[in-house]
Amino acid sequence: MFRNQYDSDVTVWSPQGRLHQVEYAMEAVKLGTATVGLKNRDVAVLVALSKPSSELSASQRKIIPIDDHLGISIAGITADARVISRYLRSECLSYKHSYGSAYPVSRLITNLGNKMQTTTQRYDRRPYGVGLLVGGYDEKGPHIYQVTPSATFYNCKANSIGSRSQSARTYLERNLDKFLNSSNEQLICDGIQAIHGSLPTDELQSNNEDAPQLNITIAIVGKDQPFKILNELETKKYLSMAKLKGTPAEPSRPDDDEASTSRPDQADSGPRDPEVAVATEEL
């Protein structure tokens, strides 16, 4: 990642056909702590890791309820996430008032995508520096969507975004087949185990059960289940259930960041356009 003359403005194309400012915005997502989303036949689950910025302050809210049938978990610039969640809430409320039913998830995300796109094509705006994992339920069943600052959105069976999320994604890919028919409890445990890989290495090695620093937030939405963030008691219950059930995930190694998974060794090939590993996995 280095500066070049085509990256100062979002309205400037690089000769390779890339918008660098948009790609730089995607980097902001990787600065946020990891979050995981997965679904079975009936429910969608979001699990988020939140780290307080200092010992003195509380950690940021990673999971934001939007409506009874939908919630989001964020990674990146929290202030941008707040604006987006206000917009999503207002859209859902307005739809419910006008049509008497819940805003279908895919349409809401398309709506959001269209709104986010304008920020990538105007000289006086900048892209939103936040990635979202949307967990929702509507007539078509449970959904997990990933929304990126480039205004692209992906319908996912499961996904993970944020810092050190590659190990979570690997866990999800390996266990994808069993999610569909999982029970809700097993699904939550899988989510917790997936996100275990995204803990910083020193946290992982200490088996201290009441490690106060990192907080895990879990939310669930689905059939007969309005969007709900689990309270402390319920979260503890699932954390211990996950501990009993599975093998602990392999500790994440320093080069586990997605930035390194597809980027060839830069030092040898001389100056070239930075290749950002945009989440382009076909899922």
């Binding site: 309820p65 809430r89 207002s90 409320l93 307005s94 419910k96 008032h97």
Partner: protein, 235 residues
């Protein structure tokens, strides 16, 4: 129709011209009653919607639970009722998102007053009574006029039979115009409140043609909302 309608100026009438008056309002009838006690409140509304001498339906509830401790009873023009309660629900959910808590009954009461006054020059033609448990756990009743004037009370009747029911409540709940011989009136129990509310509706159904069919009663306490239904005269 209106007082300045051209029916009153025969000189201006031209033969062959048909003049139709459109009134945006219609009275769909119905009555509502609310009685507050120490730690509970009873709110009741009949279930008949009518239009002139015709009945639209016998089974429409006029009670709108806005939260698990606040219920709005709304009667008058049904389209305005639907619009107003829809708006209130949206505003309350918006509040919950921003403030992460349910609106208190007093806050809802104030918001309803403001919302109705915003339409000062094209009013919601509704007779509202809001009942709920306030932040101190006490039962409370707020009554409104069509432009949002809000008054806190212990008991109130509204709707087409409002003027028939209010004096009964004054006497039976307020112990007005009764000779108590200096004794303290007994504390209002939930059972008595429900009984008085039911009896007033039975009386209203006798005399008011727009009230009848059945009455839905909501008993609101700190534990939630309990519903009772009582059949009335269907004529």
């Amino acid at each position: 129709m209106s007082s300045l309608g051209f029916e009153q100026f025969p000189d201006y009438q031209v033969p062959g011209v048909s003049h139709a008056d459109f009134s945006p309002y219609e009275s769909n009838g119905g009555s509502i009653v609310a009685i507050a006690g120490e730690d509970f409140v009873v709110i009741a509304a009949d279930t008949r919607l009518s239009s002139g001498y015709n009945i639209h339906t016998r089974t429409q509830s006029k009670l709108f639970p806005l939260s698990n401790k606040t219920v709005l009873a709304s009667t008058g023009c049904w389209c305005d009722t639907l619009s107003l309660t829809g708006l209130m629900k949206v505003r309350m959910q918006s509040y919950e998102h921003t403030h992460l808590k349910t609106m208190t009954t007093d806050a809802v009461a104030q918001m309803l007053s403001i919302t109705m006054y915003n339409r000062r020059f094209f009013p919601y033609y509704v007779s509202n009574i809001l009942a709920g448990i306030d932040k101190d756990g006490k039962g409370v009743v707020f009554s409104y006029d069509p432009i949002g004037h809000c008054e806190r009370a212990t008991y109130r009747a509204g709707g087409t039979a409002g003027s028939l029911l209010q004096p009964v409540l004054d006497n039976q709940i307020g112990y007005k115009n009764m000779n108590l011989n200096g004794e303290e009136p007994p504390v209002l129990t939930k059972e008595r409140a429900v009984a008085v509310a039911s009896d007033t509706f039975i009386s209203a159904a006798e005399r008011d043609i727009y009230t009848g069919d059945s009455v839905l009663i909501n008993i609101i306490t700190a534990d939630g909302i309990e519903t009772k239904e009582l059949q009335l005269r269907q004529d």
